[in-house]
């Protein structure tokens, strides 16, 4: 097929027929008889649980499967008229842009500009054309200020955008994205989705996007394909997909759809705008938020007090600090981000009480991870102090904690067993950590951080997790919330840095919002997560009622307020 015909979109962007694939040494195939066609300019959302086969399907569409990963393949994959199984990723590079989950493995150059320019250089474009393309894609992704930076000085979110720029710079006809928002804050995540929609509408780029946080992108999609155990479980319009999830897999339902489903309102909405329209048409707006008394971790009810760090008199403050699991006072931390030293934390005052569940939120680079690292003693403050009581910190890569081939060897003796018991993993003492599921590995890593930090009765002090929900489906997030509930019930303070507002709304009592190294908001989660545009849950954006952030709470409100 001629280049011109491909450009004009004569061929489907992606045509998959009867694709069956098994990774080398795998006991079961990752994809089974998958057939799918994506038209030029179509925006397709790939939904499904973790390990359902979404990533493998994307890898097959860009030629990495089977060319790079090996394994056995059957069926046919065509990308803009090219046979992807015969051609391989190099030949497909001109037509396909691919963005994988982990941005750290997707940069191969030392500077941002060189990274973005690399695909053009490999293609043999002239220097002038390359410079223009780099400039344009940097402008489109709002990263021109990063062009001169070294890639090893970028945050995860910045890396993600740079990797996306490198995938888009050749102006491919098909863009494949594997959970591109997993490392992004809500603002950047929304920006990315709408940028993809704009590329899709204005450039006619076909987009296939695999995501767990469906509420972010369902409204932007033309079509949803759900993958279940390596097979296509559903293929159709977003609204039909939501109806399908109700019967087939409720964990794939968006919060707004769950809200409507619980409140028995039809049809299920594909986004905030759709939900508000339906509620408006039916006159189903809640009458008054304060009329309801639905228990919620972030909802302060009459007569109930939650441990919060409100400004108080000196003596009371000192007493609270003495009892706190974490007490940070006037904490300043300076880091070198490659452009010289800068203050990443600027005079943070924060107390977290035992038993409290706190979500630490903010944009990429706001200082969340730095605060956790300073509290754990990995970073020295330039001023102020952070004192934590028996702090166990789990960083973003739990696998970094696992160095031995038997769980029991990582955690010897009675203290090790107590730590395993604290996270519900005592049954796996003889297992090889590599054989554990992602969620179990995360629990084991937490147990390693907790070992020896439990008091005489096995109660942890401060448990801190940095972005623990990356790449997690809702089922695994629910498991994590159950673990947090258990730890908090034992008396542990739980502090979690996260970009996931829905997860924060489910687990947290309190949300601390950081902005450019300072605390810009600190209060009950229901209050913080219902009072804005970006750091707000989908339910909060639909109902716009202060204090209502979860589907369960919202549904009760709708039931009480429905006309």
């Amino acid at each position: 097929m001629s280049e011109l015909a491909i450009r004009r979109g004569a061929a489907p962007a992606l045509a998959v027929e009867g694709l069956t694939y098994a990774y080398p040494r795998a006991t079961a195939p990752a994809l089974v008889d998958v057939s799918l066609e994506v038209a030029p300019g179509e925006f397709v959302l790939l939904a499904g649980r973790s390990a359902s086969g979404k990533s493998t399907l994307l890898r097959a569409a860009c030629g990495l499967v089977p060319h790079f990963h090996g394994g056995e393949v059957g069926g046919r994959v065509e990308v803009v008229g090219m046979d992807a199984i015969a051609a391989g990723p190099g030949e497909l590079a001109a037509a396909v842009g691919y963005l994988a989950q982990d941005p750290e493995t997707q940069v191969v150059s030392t500077t941002v500009a060189a990274e973005i320019e690399l695909p053009l250089e490999m293609r043999g474009d002239a220097p002038g054309d390359r410079a223009r393309a780099v400039e344009e894609v940097a402008l489109a992704l709002a990263i021109p200020h990063l062009l001169g930076r070294a890639v090893d000085t970028l945050s995860g979110g910045e890396l993600q955008r740079v990797a996306l720029a490198a995938a888009l710079v050749t102006r491919p006809r098909l863009v494949l994205l594997d959970e591109p928002t997993s490392q992004l804050d809500p603002v950047s995540g929304d920006e990315l989705i709408w940028l993809l929609r704009r590329l899709n509408e204005e450039w006619g780029v076909a987009v296939v996007l695999a995501e767990h946080r469906l509420e972010r992108c369902l409204a932007a999609a033309d079509r949803v394909v759900a993958v279940e155990d390596g097979r296509i479980g559903f293929d159709g319009a977003p609204r039909d997909f939501l109806a399908w999830t109700r019967e087939a897999d409720p964990t794939l339902m968006t919060p707004a759809a769950r809200l409507f489903s619980l409140a028995a309102i039809e049809p299920l909405p594909v986004g905030v705008r759709d939900a508000r329209r339906v509620l408006g048409e039916r006159g189903a707006w809640p009458v008054e938020a304060s009329a309801t008394a639905v228990p919620h971790p972030g909802k302060v009810l009459a007569g109930e007090t939650l441990p919060t760090d409100r400004p108080s008199r000196f003596a009371a403050l000192r007493k609270r600090r003495e009892n706190a699991a974490l007490a940070a006072a006037n904490l300043w931390v300076e880091l070198d981000d490659g452009e010289g030293s800068r203050d990443v934390l600027r005079g943070i005052d924060l107390n977290v009480a035992p038993g409290e569940r706190v979500a630490l939120m903010g944009r990429n680079g706001a200082g969340k991870s730095t605060l956790l690292r300073a509290a754990a003693g990995l970073l020295d403050p330039v001023a102020g102090r952070a004192v934590a009581d028996r702090m166990a910190l789990l960083t973003q890569n739990p696998s970094d904690y696992l160095v031995r081939e038997r769980v029991g060897d990582e955690l010897p003796g009675a203290p090790g067993l107590a730590a395993l018991r604290a996270v519900g993993m005592e049954h796996a003492i003889d297992a090889d950590p590599r054989d554990l599921s992602g969620g179990e590995r995360q629990r084991l890593a937490l147990a390693i951080a907790l070992a020896g930090r439990l008091d005489g009765e096995g109660v942890p002090g401060l448990v801190a997790l940095d972005e623990p929900t990356r790449g997690m489906d809702r089922g695994r997030k629910d498991d994590l919330i159950a673990l947090i509930d258990g730890l908090a019930a034992q008396g542990a303070a739980v502090l979690i840095a996260t970009h996931d507002v829905e997860f924060a709304a489910e687990f947290a009592h309190r949300v601390v919002l950081l902005g450019d190294g300072v605390v810009i908001a600190d209060g009950p989660s229901a209050e913080i997560l219902s009072g804005g545009w970006y750091f707000a849950t989908e339910v909060a954006r639909v109902l716009d009622v202060p204090g209502v952030v979860t589907p369960e709470h919202g549904a009760t409100l709708l039931a009480g307020g429905a006309a």
Partner: protein
């Protein structure tokens, strides 16, 4: 935080030299380390590598490599002293050990271990200087004609060290965050984990290279060659060191044996090889000719400004 081994663009001759020239120069020092056992020559090669890194501005890389290299050398000395019982000068009799049997520590075994350890340390320092001073982007491009069909080879050569350095930082943090009752992270398990993890990630990086069209073999000549006036100096240093090393080896400059009694040759040929190797460490020294200083500083200011530009713009500006 940046790894000590991370490449940092600088205006030094070693950084500006073509990849081939820089690799030939540093490779020559590694060849000496593998060719010779005489501790004097090995010390000279080590000092030359340190000097090269120091003059090129990669001081933290040299310090870190020395820490690791000398640590490894010490480990080798201890292991060699425990497992080898050859040699006539017994320093200590440690009795019968399980698995090892009768353990006698001899001076000869220690010196033999020093020789092997020095070889490892020299290699590590030279590799650290390479990692900190040779632009991996240019290595990647230089490798394309020979490794176009194997992105994995290219990523292993150009990215394994930066990837491993980043992983080492994360693993170090995780080791610090382990609870006091968790099993301590021994060097062995940590090294295994680091190597396995780095290889896995290098494979992922190779996949990215494939996706960027590395194996396409695009039109030749799309990118201008980037010669440097320092190339000749490094090629010459490499040739002289290699020639001296080979000739020296033939004429007996590597006059050394540890058993049954230590003999370290200090003849003229050995000292000559030491001197040549040692002087080669000065190759990255920046030499400024009078009268050119003003012009060169103006040019170099331009270069500093251009380091953040895309390579295509750098080419357009003749940087």
């Amino acid at each position: 935080m940046r790894s000590a081994f991370a490449y940092i663009p600088r205006r030094g001759p070693l950084q500006q030299a073509r990849v081939g020239a820089a690799v030939s120069y540093l490779g020559a020092l590694v060849v000496v380390a593998f060719l010779y056992s005489n501790p004097l020559v090995l010390v000279a090669a080590g000092l030359a590598a340190c000097m090269a890194g120091w003059l090129a501005g990669a001081r933290s890389a040299v310090r870190a490599a020395l820490r690791m290299g000398l640590g490894l050398a010490l480990l080798i000395v201890i292991v060699n002293a425990l497992v080898v019982d050859r040699g006539e000068t017994v320093l200590a009799r440690l009795g019968h050990w399980p698995l090892l049997g009768q353990v006698d520590i001899t001076l000869e075994a220690i010196v033999a271990g020093v020789s092997i350890g020095l070889r490892a340390a020299v290699t590590m320092v030279a590799f650290a200087v390479y990692s900190a001073c040779v632009d991996p982007d240019r290595v990647l491009r230089a490798l394309r004609p020979v490794a176009a069909r194997s992105a994995l080879t290219a990523s292993l050569v150009s990215r394994l060290v930066p990837v491993a350095a980043a992983d080492a930082g994360r693993l170090r943090d995780a080791a610090q965050l382990r609870g006091p009752a968790a099993a301590p992270v021994g060097r062995g398990p940590l090294a295994r984990r680091l190597l396995a993890g780095s290889l896995d990630r290098a494979v992922d990086v190779a996949a990215t290279l494939e996706l960027r069209g590395y194996s396409l073999g695009g039109p030749r000549g799309a990118r201008r060659r980037e010669p440097s006036r320092h190339d000749a100096r490094f090629y010459a240093a490499a040739v002289v060191v290699l020639a001296a090393a080979i000739v020296g080896k033939v004429v007996g400059a590597d006059d050394f044996h540890a058993y049954p009694r230590i003999h370290i040759g200090t003849g003229a040929s050995t000292l000559a090889v030491c001197a040549i190797v040692l002087v080669s460490g000065l190759a990255p020294l920046r030499v400024r000719r009078k009268g050119r200083i003003a012009k060169e500083s103006a040019n170099s200011a331009g270069r500093v400004r251009a380091t953040g530009l895309p390579p295509s713009l750098k080419e357009a500006q003749g940087v």
